[in-house]
């Protein structure tokens, strides 16, 4: 949007942006810094408010060491990474395959199956957690890694992303390959998938974040320490006699910097994927 703006307006834009920016940045930066202070000084400088709150002194790594040696949290971290990795790899493959079929093949029942896929991602997932618990219970899968992975892998939104991308690939490209004797599977893996790197990155991020941020589903379905997921494991630092704030903030910082490090360089793909599916409905 171009507009001839006055200095006063410029000034206002900056003030407003800085205000929003501070609200977004301060909690993250403060908790990172505070988690490098010893437990009894975590809240130093907050009340009364002083610059001490933003200085990591006396410096200690104790909280981070504590987090990594904490059984509940460290096994949840490992489990979450495994669950997320399996979800990303399987999710990208099977959703791309489904998107490929929708975009390139003419088949019986296409309309119905497409509306099922579409309605599945318009329905907020948390609403079905309790009946899904019933289902998983009757399958005998409560408190298993499989139960954490399966419901998240098939993802209507990701299928939709691939449909959009694949329908832009020229039909002639596919037909030429088929005439040359390639199978559909080869067309997908040799021609379509290599073209679709941005969509695959976007899809991977969406699936990764779905598991990284999972809360309600692991809350009801996981019981044992090995099947714990990190967002739930955060509560392990709140104990009967009080909260270990230093460790809790160290863990929270880890939970927020790991995805941010992934998202920052790849934000373009993530945003294009999320927004793309929405605005082309």
């Amino acid at each position: 949007m171009i507009r001839r703006t006055t200095t006063l307006q410029h000034f206002l834009f900056h003030i407003l942006s800085i205000l929003f920016g501070l609200i977004f940045v301060v909690p993250i930066i403060w908790s990172l810094i505070a988690s490098f202070r010893p437990e009894n000084l975590v809240f130093a400088g907050l009340s009364p408010l002083s610059i001490k709150a933003l200085i990591p002194l006396p410096f200690t790594m104790k909280n981070f060491i504590g987090v990594f040696t904490n059984d509940v949290f460290s096994s949840a971290l490992v489990n979450t990474l495994v669950v997320a990795a399996v979800t990303v790899v399987c999710g990208v493959i099977i959703n791309a395959a489904a998107g490929f079929a929708f975009a390139t093949i003419n088949f019986v029942g296409k309309g119905i199956l497409f509306s099922i896929v579409l309605s599945s991602f318009l329905m907020p997932p948390d609403v079905l957690v309790i009946p899904t618990y019933n289902l998983v219970d009757s399958l005998g899968l409560i408190d298993t890694r499989i139960a954490l992975i399966l419901p998240v892998v098939g993802n209507g939104m990701v299928i939709f992303m691939f449909i959009q991308f694949f329908s832009q690939v020229p039909k002639a490209l596919r037909e030429a390959a088929l005439i040359d004797g390639a199978s559909s599977l080869q067309v997908l893996s040799k021609i379509y998938l290599p073209l679709t790197l941005p969509t695959m990155i976007g899809a991977s991020l969406i699936l990764f974040l779905a598991q990284w941020e999972a809360f309600l589903w692991p809350l009801v379905v996981s019981r044992s320490i090995e099947n714990g997921m990190i967002q739930i494991a955060l509560s392990t630092f709140t104990q009967q006699y009080g909260t270990l704030w230093g460790m809790k903030l160290a863990a929270a910082s880890l939970l927020c910097f790991i995805p941010l490090i992934l998202l920052m360089p790849l934000q373009r793909y993530y945003i294009a994927s999320v927004v793309g599916t929405a605005l082309k409905e």
């Binding site: 407003l16 945003i271 605005l279």
Partner: protein, 291 residues
């Protein structure tokens, strides 16, 4: 049906089966389960299941705690959705302006995208800690007495709204931003030439052209906030005095903690119907002119 279509269909099903099968099993079948189970009662002790017809629904009708949750869910959504949409629009307009440093601000505005709601809840629960929290210190230093925040029935819901919005606004902003980018620059150039005030051009050009995007955000945001659970579960557990006990939390408590599946399912059915009604109304009210 000709042979080619038959052969193609078979091939297509092979590609579709894993993903669409999982979606049917975990996203569609549970909808059938929730309706079905809402007509049963599971005995907590013996685990046996008895068909009770519409009894679970009748019980809900006389359940004051349930109606309170319906009211809290309604109130939360009437407040949170307009707030989030307006802030998201303001944020998107800001970083879509051409002024120095906007790329830097944009990076800052995107930060909440990578922060989970559980972590967000931890941050703000520290900030709003009753007693010696940071916010109370700030209030105190400008002469306002300490506030109880999430220990107060009249303030707790607002804190929940704030927490959910910190995360939510950034997410919805990216949709609005994409909508803004779709508006041709030439229109604004023409405005400049004609000497139209920026505020007028916002209301007469930007807003109407953005209407479809805003409606989409409004509807999806409502769907998300109907299921808001994490900050309530983590901080207030529905309290104080059930002032933050949204339907999703009440259903979780009934089904998972009290083990009363039938009742929980009936609540979920009600929640889904409520959401569908609201979305239909949103489309009817806002949609007729623009879509």
């Amino acid at each position: 049906m000709n042979n080619r279509l038959k052969r193609d269909s078979l091939k297509a099903y092979m590609f579709l089966f894993p993903a669409v099968g999982l979606i049917l099993l975990f996203k569609i079948y549970p909808i059938i389960i929730v309706f079905g189970e809402s007509f049963y009662k599971v005995s907590y002790l013996s685990g046996s299941k008895v068909f009770v017809g519409i009894n679970n629904y009748l019980d809900l009708f006389f359940d004051r705690s349930f109606w309170n949750s319906v009211w809290v869910t309604t109130k939360l959504n009437l407040l949170i959705n307009p707030i989030q949409v307006v802030i998201a629009v303001v944020m998107a307009l800001l970083i879509n302006m051409e002024f120095r440093g906007r790329l830097f601000y944009r990076l800052l505005f995107f930060i909440p995208l990578g922060v989970s709601l559980a972590v967000t809840t931890i941050y703000w629960s520290i900030f709003f800690r009753p007693g010696n929290g940071v916010m109370n210190y700030i209030l105190n230093s400008v002469g306002i007495p300490r506030q109880p925040f999430f220990n107060s029935p009249s303030q707790a819901l607002w804190i929940i709204i704030g927490i959910a919005s910190w995360k939510g606004c950034s997410f919805w902003m990216i949709f609005i931003l994409a909508g803004l980018k779709n508006i041709p620059r030439e229109i604004y150039e023409a405005c400049d030439v004609e000497g139209i005030e920026p505020i007028a051009s916002f209301f007469y050009i930007t807003l109407p052209l953005l209407a479809k995007t805003i409606l989409f955000v409004f509807v999806t945001d409502t769907a998300a906030n109907f299921m808001l659970f994490i900050p309530i579960f983590m901080i207030t557990k529905g309290g104080p005095d059930s002032s933050t006990n949204v339907l999703m939390h009440e259903a979780y408590r009934t089904a998972m903690l009290q083990g009363d599946m039938g009742h929980g399912m009936a609540m979920i059915v009600f929640l889904m119907l409520m959401l569908m009604t609201v979305v239909a109304i949103q489309f009817k009210v806002t949609g007729e002119r623009e879509i």
